[in-house]
């Protein structure tokens, strides 16, 4: 089963994945709100998931799908821990601006 028989070419998936990943990176770098930064990370993870699924479908490989499950599981755990930390930070500092959470800075 080759990608030529599909309606949507492989490269489109990959380009979408790259665009999503770049959006995640840019969001991570320029947004100041901690929750937005966190969501950007999720976006990057999902962009990678998309390319995993694409290749898995392309090559009839189930391992790519399994990898995606792992990533989703880690992302869920990360969301649980990360949100807890964000709430703790907000309670302590009354702010979610990344630039002001700099107590550990040299």
């Amino acid at each position: 089963m080759s990608f030529l028989q599909q309606d949507v070419p492989l490269s489109w998936y990959l380009i979408l994945s790259a665009i999503l990943f770049s959006l995640g990176v840019i969001g991570f770098l320029i947004k100041r709100n901690l929750i937005t930064v966190f969501m950007s990370i999720e976006l990057m993870l999902n962009a990678v998931n998309l390319s995993f699924v694409t290749f898995a479908r392309q090559w009839n490989e189930v391992r790519g799908q399994i990898f995606v499950f792992f990533v989703m599981m880690v992302a869920a755990a990360e969301a649980a821990v990360g949100l807890a930390i964000i709430i703790a930070v907000f309670r302590a500092r009354s702010t979610l601006a990344v630039d002001r959470i700099n107590l550990m800075k040299l």
């Binding site: 991570f28 290749f55 700099n102």
Partner: protein
Amino acid sequence: MNASSAFPIQLGLWLIPLLPFAGFLLNGILGCRLPRWMVTVIGLLAPLGSLLIVFNATLVAASHPGITVCKGCAYQVPSYLPNVENLGHWLAVGSLHIDFSLVFDQLSLVMLLVVTGVGFLIHVYSVGYMHSDPGYARFFSYLNLFLFFMTTLVLAGNILLMFVGWEGVGLASYLLIAFWFEKPTAAAAGKKAFVVNRIGDFGFLIAIFLILAQFGTLTFSEIAAKLAANPTFTGGVLTVICLCLLFGAAGKSAQLPLYVWLPDAMEGPTPVSALIHAATMVTAGVYMIARTHFLFDRSPAALSTVAIVGAATAIFAATIGLVQNDIKRVLAYSTISQLGYMFLACGVAAYSAAIFHLVTHAFFKALLFLCAGSVIHALGGEQDMRKMGGLRTKIPITFWTMTIAVFTIAGFPPLAAFFSKDSILYAAFLQGSGGIVLWFVGLFTALLTALYMFRLWYMTFFGESRTPDAHPHESPWSMRAPLIILALLSICGGWIGIERFAAFLAPSTGALPWAAAANPRLEIALVAFAVACAIVGWRIAHVFYLRKPERAAQLAASVPLGYDLLANKFYIDELYNSVIVKPLFVVSRYILGWVVDAAILGGLAWLLAGIANLSGMVLQRWQSGNLRSYAAWLAAAAAAVLLFVLLAGSSHGWSLTLFHPEPILKLSRISIAHLGQASH
């Protein structure tokens, strides 16, 4: 040579150096915590044990059936000597093998008896002499360390092991000269001795390298065998080797031009002066020449250099000794002068005469130093002879033993030095026309020796006491007993006679040059000359320093130039200071210190530090602590890597574009295959 293998007699030679070493470790590490009597016991048992082993070995040697060594002489030597004890391999580099081999032959037997015997007596003496010194345990540990290295030097079967002992005694000498290191002069004297000895050791080292290059072995017996197999090999490189060895020996044995450290070495405690700087260590140079005599025998030029150095040193030091006022310095110059006699004997190939004089000298010079120590002890540390006098009745045992020593060194029959000194003069006289000059120098030195020794005797023990407030007291028995034993040895030490002694030593040092054609009538005539010289020296001293003490001062005033020259030791120290030491200081301080060290090396260090500092100042801006800036750098770097792969890939011919996915697919297929392999 190979007789030893037929008679595997265990003598325990390895214990001879090791016992003092054990003493050194015990006293050196635990000495300050042990009670004083235990330090004494350890310090004395170590040399006593070595002495007993040497005695045992000597008895074994004496009880063994003898063989006749030289044709025509009646004397026999034990047939199993040399006894070689191989303790194991030390070095194996290419074809060169060096063992820890100890050789017990006639020469090392004699030397060991002197080193451990006189060494033990001086240890006993030190118990009394150093009894109130705070560094008592340290002193005994150093003395034991010295005995360890000295016996190693004597027993060594190859030059490298001898060199270990050679350097070791230098170290022990340094430690003991600078024993009272709080005193700046003592510290400086120790440093001087060490540096001057290093200069001599340089010559010794060069000689070792040359021997290695020439013979491919450093074992004495193998070198001798190779030389014996090649009877036409003379001069040339052998002369160079021998001159380098002579330079080393001159450093250790305080000969011209390296004698300057020995008078200063008198800053050490008197037992040290007696043991190291009179009886044993300074004779190591003579021992080394006798040990390597097969090399010197092949080089007449080197031999005559040895003789000239010896004769020049003998008369040179004796003249300086005439006008010194410090009792120990007189004895130091006397030691240098007597060592000159030994070198003279080596230089005329009469090695056994040199060793004979070495033995008798060890007895009477150790006695002289110990007596001087007893005098200094009695006067509470006074060393200036001008402040002594009239001690004859106050310290009678010291006086009588000193008298024996003085008459011995002056060469009166039948005391020990009479026999040894006259055998040297006789050997020199037989060396042809040049030998007669050497003989005359030796004879004149004998006169000077008698003169300065009787001067010391009269100034110390006769006349009026020049220290009215001092209360001299006789030394304790631990000091008096060694004096008496050494006095007996000084009397009897020469009675064995040079003929018998030389015949005994012949297998190690070769026969005496006149062994074949002795001339008793000539010998007696020469002896008469020598004794006459001794008596003249005595009478001159008697007139100048007892009957008319003002005459000496008048004489000194009448030739102020000559007296100044002697009193200032020919200005040799000043000469060395201005010609060698000062330029070295200038080079060190200004060229090496300022230009090389401060400017070049220091500048380089500053430059490196500056570069590190500057780059740190720039790079620290990166370490902002801001997480997002780190992430930005990470992303930028990842983008850069991706860009590089794209560009480099296109230049290498495999296009990596997103719209022609074949290469990507290929890559991912490969990576998935890898994953599959890894998971299996």
